[in-house]
């Protein structure tokens, strides 16, 4: 997969976030402050012209610029967290012009590590980590077991979906939802939900790759 696929991923993620903007915001209204969809949509809207004008040549450069732009434009907690995720993934891909699935899996592991380091969240805290961690685990495992590209990418997204669904029953220990204590139970975490959208966009872009 070359830089073009990664640009397509970011564009697809931007579309998905825009389409689900109100849904993400509603999830956030239940247990947070009702701005997750608005903020992410603003960030990705700024990423597309940045990629257009800088035209980064490698997959790593595409993701690094995406992350830096999210940090500059989103604000809140999701700006630095998604920003660091994309930047770490981009750095992990290095200067390679063409990236295979194992390299992508390593980049996603690096993204997860970056998010956990910055946000100090562990699995079970009801955050984006509850979607990202099982997704990267399932992806790496499928690749190691010799799954086809399509199957590995499907495993990635299905594990993210299951992880996001599992946040409904959790009590939040990190982020703004933690202020609700037991009242945070019964609602899906908005960050886990947006992680599903972004990983779904990755699968779609990678599968569309000739």
């Amino acid at each position: 997969m070359e830089a073009e696929v990664f640009r397509a991923w970011v564009a697809a993620a931007a579309r998905a976030v825009e389409e689900q903007r109100d849904h993400l915001t509603q999830l956030d209204a239940a247990i947070g402050d009702a701005d997750h969809g608005i903020n992410l949509a603003r960030g990705f809207t700024a990423v597309l012209p940045a990629l257009e004008s800088a035209a980064p040549a490698t997959p790593g450069a595409v993701l690094t610029l995406t992350g830096s732009t999210l940090i500059s434009k989103v604000g809140g907690a999701s700006g630095p967290l998604y920003g660091v995720a994309f930047r770490r993934a981009g750095k992990a891909l290095g200067d390679a012009a063409d990236v295979d699935l194992p390299a992508l899996a390593a980049a996603l592991e690096a993204a997860l590590a970056g998010v956990q380091q910055l946000g100090a969240a562990r699995e079970g805290d009801k955050t984006m980590v509850d979607a990202l961690a099982p997704a990267t685990g399932a992806f790496s495992k499928a690749i190691a077991e010799g799954a086809s590209d399509a199957d590995a990418l499907t495993a990635l997204v299905e594990a993210a979906q299951a992880g996001a669904a599992a946040t409904i029953a959790m009590q939040a220990l990190k982020g703004r939802a933690s202020y609700l204590g037991p009242r945070s139970v019964g609602h899906e975490d908005p960050g886990a939900a947006s992680t599903v959208l972004i990983l779904g966009a990755l699968r779609d872009a990678a599968l569309a790759c000739p």
């Binding site: 915001t25 209204a29 247990i31 947070g32 402050d33 009702a34 701005d35 608005i38 903020n39 603003r42 940090i71 500059s72 434009k73 989103v74 604000g75 809140g76 907690a77 999701s78 700006g79 630095p80 967290l81 910055l118 946000g119 805290d125 220990l173 990190k174 982020g175 703004r176 933690s178 202020y179 609700l180 204590g181 009242r183």
Partner: protein, 330 residues
């Protein structure tokens, strides 16, 4: 939604243009969303920078001026500003004695200020951050995001600002900021939700007969929903929560703060209840503020913040201040 806005997308920049027009003592960079003193940095004085989401006015922009902040960076409504804004503010107020970041404890504010401090360090500017976390409604533990920073932020900005004006060093200014935070506690109550302009409808639904106890300042629901009681009952519950965490004795600085949509008449009803409660505990309200200082858009409700004063803190509280939202002694 009925609001006095031109468009939900331009509400923050339109308001900043109004702030610039109303207050010549401030320099407002509308595009980058940074408010500084028009007089610029003073050599040898520690610079004080704060910031956070918009929707809490007059916090923080209304507290920029002599005796308080040197700069404020407002984010989008209820959204932390970005590191670029904080870095620009930090550079703009650096008088060579270092810069204090006053950060309310919310994950987004803490992360973005942390990144800004690293960038400032790259530029050779010494930055110390003090994080406020005075909200007793949030249970604190090693494994959670911790208590929110709310009303004590106003006290920290005033008292640390007064000490900085005396040209105390960065370590001393940071120490007094931490001391004020540690000696302060808050509790908030909502009678209604607020409506974020870009969302267009109330963040949560509350029946006519219900209130939310233990709210923060972002329209997030509180910890419990209870039937509406009298001002006496609600105030007692709020102060009981504070008293369980901080001994209420001696000389106190007390703020009864409106959440944005509360009549001042009702805030004074609450203040009287607060006074009766505290006097019953043998404490004395030595200094007070009653009004809208750290708000949550159009929410109806109030918060009460109590700080246990020392002679030094009282002296610094009384020191001259000249900002759009707090002004005395000058």
């Amino acid at each position: 939604m009925k609001k006095l806005i031109n468009s939900p997308d331009s509400v923050v920049t339109d308001a900043l243009a109004g702030v610039a027009a109303a207050h010549p003592s401030l320099a407002v960079d509308i595009e980058n969303k940074v408010i500084t003193r028009a007089s610029g940095p003073r050599a040898g004085k520690v610079g004080l920078v704060s910031g956070g989401g918009s929707g809490h006015e007059p916090l923080h922009g209304g507290f920029v001026g002599y005796g308080m902040l040197d700069a404020a960076c407002p984010g989008e409504v209820f959204t932390s500003p970005v590191p670029d804004q904080m870095l620009a503010a930090t550079k703009a107020v650096n008088g060579g004695a270092g810069v204090l970041h006053i950060v309310k404890n919310y994950t987004g504010d803490v992360l973005n200020f942390q990144m800004a401090a690293e960038l400032a360090d790259d530029d050779g500017i010494e930055v110390v951050a003090v994080v406020t976390n005075d909200d007793v409604a949030v249970q604190d533990s090693l494994y959670t995001a911790g208590r929110r920073g709310v009303g004590a932020t106003v006290f920290v900005e005033k008292i640390a600002g007064a000490l900085a004006e005396e040209e105390a060093g960065l370590d001393k200014v940071a120490a007094v900021a931490r001391e004020v935070n540690e000696r302060s506690r808050s509790f908030g109550v909502a009678l209604t939700s607020c409506t974020i302009p870009a969302v267009g409808k109330p963040t949560f639904d509350l029946a006519e007969s219900e209130i939310e106890m233990g709210i923060g300042i972002h329209g997030e629901p509180g910890r419990t929903r209870v039937p509406l009681g009298t001002a006496h009952e609600i105030t007692t519950a709020a102060l009981d929560a504070i008293a369980a965490d901080l001994p209420l004795s001696g000389d106190l600085l007390v703020m009864v703060n409106g959440m944005g949509g509360t009549p001042l008449l009702e805030l004074y009803v609450v203040f009287n209840e607060v006074r009766n409660y505290l006097e019953g505990q043998g404490a004395r309200i030595a200094r007070n503020l009653v009004g809208n200082y750290i708000t949550s858009l159009d929410m109806q409700g109030f918060s009460v913040t109590v700080c246990r004063l020392t002679d030094t803190l009282a002296r610094l509280w009384d020191a001259p201040v000249d900002t759009p939202a707090l002004r005395w002694g000058r």
